[in-house]
Symmetry: C2
Subunit: 394 residues, 2 copies
């Protein structure tokens, strides 16, 4: 998550990013993003055909791009704020036409709430383009604007997005804000996607009630100190206190117990699960160090073993050693391959002796992937469902 040092000063942006900006007339036309890319790659063609079929879109009828991407109505109600300023002339000055196909592409994320949901979705969607992001010459910059609660700020941002040829991704609970965004994007040719609109509509229809239209944290949308709130805070605090084998006497109070050698990701996984409301304890396995007997006394259904490929573990430990400022003198065996293998074998023998513990290989898994596996197994053991599921009541 490298914080990008730029501010909206358009000259700074063009100068430093060297990416092409839209010409005035191009603002209501497809932005440079679409101009600077290869016409239509056969791959993209095939893929979008698949998507079209899936979405039931008529293939013969190409829809204008903003409409294609815009998930809100084609003909929206007029914005309650009758305020849609033209592009300032000086924007044109800041714009130079040179197109670099590998120039950074920009995504603006706008929300009248925290913006975390939209950010989360953009991150997830960008995961589909891993293969062509910064390491592969197609860097993407995102700018998250949260708490955008008046139309003027909103329009200023959309105008900036038009200048940068950015994609706009938004979650705007306030209907008038949402329709302003929709109209401004159409007016200025900014491709946009409403992240929560469709799902909110679906739920409204499903429940047979209307959404409140209040952004998170808005007056009138009261934040309740629910049991859930306290449970999650308690889970986080419990998990912090239990971290790295602290007070093994409390293992019985944990919902989930993780065990594995150093750098199998026990701590970040514990915290991730804690934020979902699970009390997690983790027990480090270190060769030659006594394992707390309580690990074998607690309900064995809640114990999970973590393992990892030795080569990957070695590289992670080497990186860790660097950040810890370990010198070759100090505990070199920490990332010595024989030691790494030995410790993993030591853990492997323990896991073999405790067949009821699921053993999860975290190699090449992100924290949230491992968390998904743990919780699937956890709920499956607990509820013996035909299909593992995590169920909640709201």
């Amino acid at each position: 998550m490298s914080v990008w040092q730029l501010c909206p000063n358009i000259h700074g942006v063009t100068a430093i990013r060297g990416c092409n900006q839209t010409e005035p007339k191009a603002v209501s036309e497809p932005p440079p993003a679409s101009r600077s890319r290869p016409r239509v790659s056969p791959q993209l063609n095939r893929w979008s055909r698949a998507r079209s079929i899936r979405s039931g879109r008529k293939l013969d009828r190409p829809v204008p791009r903003t409409q294609t991407l815009e998930s809100s109505p084609a003909t929206p109600p007029p914005p309650s704020h009758a305020f849609s300023p033209p592009l300032d002339p000086d924007y044109a000055d800041a714009i130079d036409g040179d197109a670099e196909s590998t120039a950074s592409k920009t995504i603006y994320i706008v929300s009248d709430g925290t913006g975390w949901t939209a950010e989360h979705c953009v991150n997830a969607a960008l995961g589909q383009f891993d293969y062509c992001l910064v390491d592969h010459g197609c860097p993407v910059n995102t700018h998250l604007f949260s708490g955008i609660d008046d139309a003027e700020k909103l329009l200023e941002i959309i105008r900036q997005a038009a200048k940068e040829g950015a994609l706009l991704v938004y979650t705007l609970a306030d209907p008038s804000m949402a329709s302003s965004a929709n109209q401004a994007c159409k007016l200025w040719g900014v491709p946009s996607t409403d992240v929560l609109g469709p799902i909110t509509d679906a739920i409204a229809s499903h429940l047979g009630v209307s959404p409140s239209g209040l952004p998170r944290g808005a007056l009138g949308r009261s934040f309740r100190l629910s049991d859930d709130y306290f449970r999650r805070i308690e889970a986080v605090e419990f998990t912090i206190k239990q971290d790295d084998g602290a007070s093994p006497g409390n293992l019985d109070k944990a919902d989930i117990v993780l065990t594995g050698v150093s750098r199998t990701g026990k701590t970040p996984l514990s915290i991730y699960l804690a934020q979902k409301g699970y009390k997690v304890a983790n027990v480090p396995l270190v060769m030659g160090v006594q394992i707390p007997s309580t690990l074998f006394q607690v309900d064995q259904k809640k114990v999970f073993g973590l393992t990892i490929n030795p080569v990957v573990l070695q590289s992670i430990r080497r990186a860790r050693a660097k950040t810890m400022g370990l010198t070759p003198e100090s505990r070199t065996n920490y990332f010595d391959m024989d030691y790494v293998r030995g410790e993993l074998e030591f853990a492997g023998r323990l896991f073999a002796q405790n067949p009821s513990w699921p053993v999860i290989d975290v190699t090449e898994k992100a924290i949230e992937e491992t968390a998904a596996v743990v919780l699937r197994l956890y709920h499956d053991k607990k509820h013996k469902c035909t299909m593992p599921r995590i169920s909640k009541r709201y």
Copy 2:
């Protein structure tokens, strides 16, 4: 996040949930699967169904309701937000004055990856219905199915959703799985929303490249041990070690320093920020306890004060005292109103003496709301933008 004890057995569900799922009319459309079950074995039936869906064989009449809710580009959903849907007939029947009006509504969340993105979106969207959820007689049950990577499992879940009259929310990176879901939902009249499809489309057009179509954690989609990965793990570990004023000598190593009295949410906020990659230290303010001098020596731009309404704080502390098993004898003043007010005034005086610290009132704020405010101020101070923004490079 109360884990709901039920498993998919439909009779168990109706028995315990006491809603009218068993009446065919209460189910949007009795799925053919259940109709044909007497003749064909469910397993066999599953296979043929899976085959027909995979083969993309023409399926009978599309269900308008599904199309309305399907967030496909060609069929935009009804106007976002400013939308008060008619009660669908089945639901109307259910709410004819009788007890059924409190029947739970069910949302199935399906993903070929972790499912966290879809879950996050459902949570966020449900926030728009706070006013009518469990406390107000309109409970919603969600079931998250993650790692659904073959069409058979997928169709089994969709059929179950049809039986329960559930809404299906999915993220399926694999185009063939996504089209199976879309067609099965149409066939069986299950209202559905594709959470990431539209935004993935938008980004694909914006970048001019195709998405990989690989779910998170799928073979071939390599998880890279990026700097970001290590930074976030380091941030979480740092933050845990610094929690609750531990080693104030390290405040200079933190990106963000939080200070406030007990139960202003310093710890969960710190952890939330840490998971976003920020090293956070928090310094508790306790009346009569020496404040570490380092708090005043570190870069003051990174220090944030937290405050809260005394009445709310008292109720939080009372709840806390209960979970800690505090008896009236032990430190009663912890949630004694005079003490609470006194401690908040003590903190207030400190904040007044350090005007460069922004003071955030966390009353009625969820952790992520406070986090949004902190990060907005943090990046604003750092980059002096015309509009506070959080920028990243991918």
